[in-house]
């Protein structure tokens, strides 16, 4: 599904990631951990074609990312839902419209207008009463949940979340984690980048997750110490 083979990524003259080989199999659940600045966000961006590796190969859905045209990258992103820590929305559109945005841009207007999936999804993330609000009116937790809803509305094969609980309290982080675990149970591949080890421990009670750790520019499978 997403495969990195001997991937390196350099930035500003220095190598940030080196010789990384990781395969995200369909239906798997991964955590990516490591200290701040280790390259977790860069790793995620490599996984959805926002960055190109300086060495090695990244294959998204069996296609080398370097061979993708710009429109192909856009189509790949419809199969990969992304939640960033600093979530960005179209501030002039209501929350419901923002969540439906992936449907709108992929030409599935009718589905967006029918609103069944949207209503169900907004109930699932607990934002039903905030549908008409504008994004700047949302709290940090509400923004994260709205971002998660937006990421999954097109039923992507993969969900990538970068510090999805970074701006929320413990209770909210547990709710978001539960939502991601539910998605995984629906067959979605999930990768969560986080430095929050307590979140990883909490997740391990709910789902069989592999933990990848970035250390010294390389990605290793973390041991039982987590």
């Amino acid at each position: 599904m997403i495969e990195l083979e001997n991937v390196a990524y350099s930035y500003g003259g220095g190598e940030l990631l080196s010789d990384i080989s990781v395969k995200l199999a369909p239906g798997s659940f991964h955590f990516l951990t490591g200290p701040s600045g280790a390259g977790k966000t860069t790793f995620l961006k490599l996984c959805y074609g926002a960055l190109l590796p300086t060495a090695g190969h990244v294959r998204l859905f069996d296609r080398d990312v370097r061979s993708l045209e710009r429109d192909d990258v856009a189509k790949v992103r419809r199969r990969v839902g992304v939640v960033h820590q600093d979530v960005q929305f179209l501030d002039h559109l209501a929350v419901a419209d923002n969540i439906a945005l992936p449907l709108t841009v992929s030409g599935r207007q009718a589905q967006a207008m029918a609103g069944n999936d949207l209503t169900e999804l907004m109930t699932w993330v607990g934002l039903t009463n905030r549908a008409d609000a504008l994004p700047p009116e949302l709290s940090g937790g509400e923004r994260q949940r709205a971002a998660l809803a937006r990421a999954v509305i097109v039923s992507p094969d993969v969900v990538l979340a970068d510090e999805p609980t970074g701006n929320v309290d413990w209770d909210m982080s547990q709710r978001l984690l539960t939502l991601l675990v539910e998605l995984n149970k629906m067959g979605k591949t999930v990768l969560i980048a986080t430095h929050d080890l307590s979140l990883i421990r909490a997740a391990k009670a709910q789902v069989q997750a592999r933990v990848l750790r970035i250390s010294n520019r390389r990605v290793q499978l973390a041991g039982a110490d987590l």
């Binding site: 189509k75 179209l90 709108t104 841009v105």
Partner: protein, 300 residues
Amino acid sequence: MFNLATLRALAAGDRQADRVVPPTGFTAQLTLFVSGAMAFLAVFALALSLASGRLADRWGDELARTATIRIVAPEDQRALQTTAALEVLSTTPGIAAARALSDEEQQALLAPWFGQDLPLDTLPVPRLIEIETTGQGFDPTSLRLRLAAEVPGAVLDDHGRWRAPLVSAAHRLRLLGWAVALLIIGAVAAMVTLAANAALAANAQVIAVLRLVGATDSYIANAFVRRFTIRALAGSAVGVVVGLLAVWLMPSGGDTPGFLTGLGFQGAGWLVPLLLPLICGAVALFATAYAARRALRTLT
């Protein structure tokens, strides 16, 4: 830059897609104003061009169909030579009619310079013969030779000497009018490109979000292109209407039309400025598409 499907999608519009770009902004007013002002100016440039064209045609036609003979002779021979010249003219191929001007007509011609009370009979004013030619015209060289032989005081003026520069000037003025109209359209393209660039730069976050959720570059570009095309269409339509009103309200020269009082449109000419909104819209479409594709290549 565009294929048929893209143009069809642009024409059909997409309300949902149109909403992804924030609706207001400085560039919106700028595009409307510039398109309106430029269309207004373009109406006048077209009026100038079309009026010059009419003037060139009229001068060309009227002067090409007429000629004048001056009889410069002592007073006692003037009537004789006039009659002789008229006889020569009556047998010259290509001449439809010829007649000597009366004293009153000659006085009327000189009145603007010497006043109404000019004592024409006391002055050595040459007699003028007005010639109207047939469609084929006459051969001025052979007529001059015949007149030189039979009417020594006759001087043929076929108007060519001063007709050519006048007609040429009018043609140049017509070209100038079209050049001004083209420059105005070019200025619209430049201004819309700048405005579109500014709008794209100001909406970098919007573009980042759209890309994150899987929008293609053409989807993003079309959202901007539609908006700027509609603004340019609307602005230039208003500019054209105001320009046409201004031209329509310009004073007419009545029975003595001059160049300035003849500035305007006639007949089907009134329809020509109606093409301006379409041209401005098309210019905005291509200018925005160019700016958007260029900007989207650089924005990551």
